[in-house]
């Protein structure tokens, strides 16, 4: 099955976001794919506020069932969250549980004026009342498959399908 070109989707997202960027705008990317995408968008948009990177490992709702993942990254939010207009960036939107966890973690840093969700791909299948404000593409993914973002050594981004283990 043919997947959309992630590089093209980046351009498209950046064009869509550009008019929305103001003095209070800040961006947070979710590890790992969302962080790559956010690094790219942050640079393309020339945002002044430094980029935040977040690992939601300590806020997941499946800790009791699955335990702590092996290599949680350190969350870095190098700006004051209070009052800022946050763009929360992830690669793929699916159940919505990651976004729920990310919002909980963000509120432990402060009270943003607003949060908008930016995703490269929306594969449907929501289990929570969450939707993205800015979507690169809607992608149909067969059951039992996982859609992820990959980054090549040269920095090029690409969507990829693999079977869930």
């Amino acid at each position: 099955m043919k997947l959309p070109d992630a590089e093209r989707l980046c351009e498209q997202l950046a064009a869509e976001l550009r008019p929305l960027i103001g003095p209070k705008s800040a961006m947070v990317g979710l590890y790992t794919g969302g962080a790559w995408l956010a690094e790219r968008l942050h640079q393309m948009l020339g945002m002044k506020t430094p980029l935040g990177l977040m690992d939601i490992a300590f806020y997941r709702d499946d800790y009791a069932a699955r335990g702590l993942k092996h290599d949680p990254k350190r969350t870095k939010i190098p700006f004051d969250v209070n009052g800022c207009e946050l763009l929360l960036v992830d690669d793929v939107l699916y159940s919505g549980r990651t976004v729920r966890a990310a919002m909980n973690e963000l509120f432990d840093y402060g009270r943003p004026a607003s949060i908008s969700l930016v995703v490269l791909a929306d594969r449907g299948g929501r289990q929570l009342p969450i939707c993205a404000q800015c979507v690169g593409a809607k992608v149909e993914v067969p059951d039992g498959m996982r859609l992820t973002l990959k980054r090549a050594d040269n920095g090029k981004l690409a969507l990829s399908l693999e079977s869930e283990r």
Binding site: D55, D71, D108
Partner: protein
């Protein structure tokens, strides 16, 4: 014949209890240190809590006095949103004759999830770990002369924080190795993580027989032992554990094995000085060194919180 499984690991090879650094694979040590690194970020922000252990009960079971370890475990558990129950055993059932396992069985009936155990008898946490229910976890907070794994881990975390990499380090551990569970845990951790040279420095009477078998170099002359070290770990002279006259006097000890600025000058210029606490100033360490620019003794305490958060959240998830 049944093969004895490592009592700390579950059937998938994951950390179920933390009883000793000895016997833990390198990957698990690295996992704990990496996870602690992420928790160090949590402890720096305004809301220092994460919801991981919400609804879990952590029992601090201290059969031996401790301030720093008990407090940092308590802070760590609270920052993971667990409920913490501190038991002061010296004034409770143990003095009325209740056995260790009966005490634990009663706490288990109160729905405990994690037991943090300090005990004067080596092996007590192992005994408890063999008898707890599958969802319960035991963390050794120091047993006799045997092990103090979270102290060893926070020492490793501190060394990695300042020196980045273990592969070129010379680490000297100085003082009362014989009575020190901290030294044992740290030596196992350093050798597992690939530190090429670990030295122990102390008088013959304070070094355990056959300590070389742990993979360390032995020095009785402190000046020779400190030469070109990257890390100097000072141990407390454990007066309360002394049996018989192992040493002439504290003054004599300080003269030969106390860390002073002039002895520290023999180590590398960027050497760090560590101490697990509590310090005896003027016995094993001079105040000018303890409070000096090489000292990372207070950061060790802060890192201890993140390391204990990591250990609790890893075992409770497995």
């Amino acid at each position: 014949m049944q093969i004895q499984r490592n009592p700390q690991l579950n059937e998938k090879g994951e950390l179920q209890h933390l009883l000793s650094i000895e016997g833990l694979p390198r990957e698990i040590l690295v996992q704990i240190l990496d996870t602690a690194e992420s928790f160090a970020g949590v402890t720096e922000r305004e809301v220092k809590k994460v919801p991981l252990l919400r609804g879990k009960s952590v029992f601090n079971l201290f059969f031996e006095p401790s301030t720093r370890t008990r407090t940092t475990f308590e802070i760590a558990a609270k920052r993971l949103s667990a409920d913490v129950i501190n038991l002061n055993i010296t004034v409770s059932s143990a003095t009325k004759g209740e056995s260790l396992l009966d005490t634990v069985a009663n706490l288990s009936a109160m729905h405990a999830d994690i037991f943090i155990v300090r005990h004067e008898s080596s092996g007590a946490p192992f005994l408890i770990a063999r008898h707890v229910k599958p969802h319960e976890h035991v963390i050794n907070a120091g047993d006799g002369r045997h092990a103090h794994p979270t102290q060893g881990l926070l020492d490793l975390f501190t060394i990695r924080h300042y020196k980045k990499d273990f592969s070129r380090l010379t680490v000297a551990i100085v003082g009362d190795i014989l009575h020190s569970r901290v030294a044992r845990s740290l030596i196992h951790g350093l050798t597992t993580l690939g530190a090429p040279e670990v030295r122990v420095i102390g008088p013959q009477t304070l070094l355990p027989a056959g300590v070389e078998a742990l993979g360390v170099r032995v020095f009785h002359d402190m000046r020779a032992g400190l030469a070109d070290c990257d890390v100097v770990v000072m141990l407390r002279l454990q007066n309360e554990r002394m049996r018989g006259a192992l040493l002439p006097s504290a003054q004599e000890y300080f003269k030969h094995y106390g860390l002073t600025a002039d002895k520290l000058a023999l180590a590398k210029r960027d050497a760090i000085v560590m101490h697990p606490g509590p310090m005896n100033r003027g016995v094993e360490i001079d105040s000018t060194v303890a409070d000096g620019p090489h000292s990372v003794i207070l950061p060790q305490v802060t890192f201890g919180i993140a390391v204990r958060m990591a250990v609790m959240s890893i075992v409770a998830g497995n």
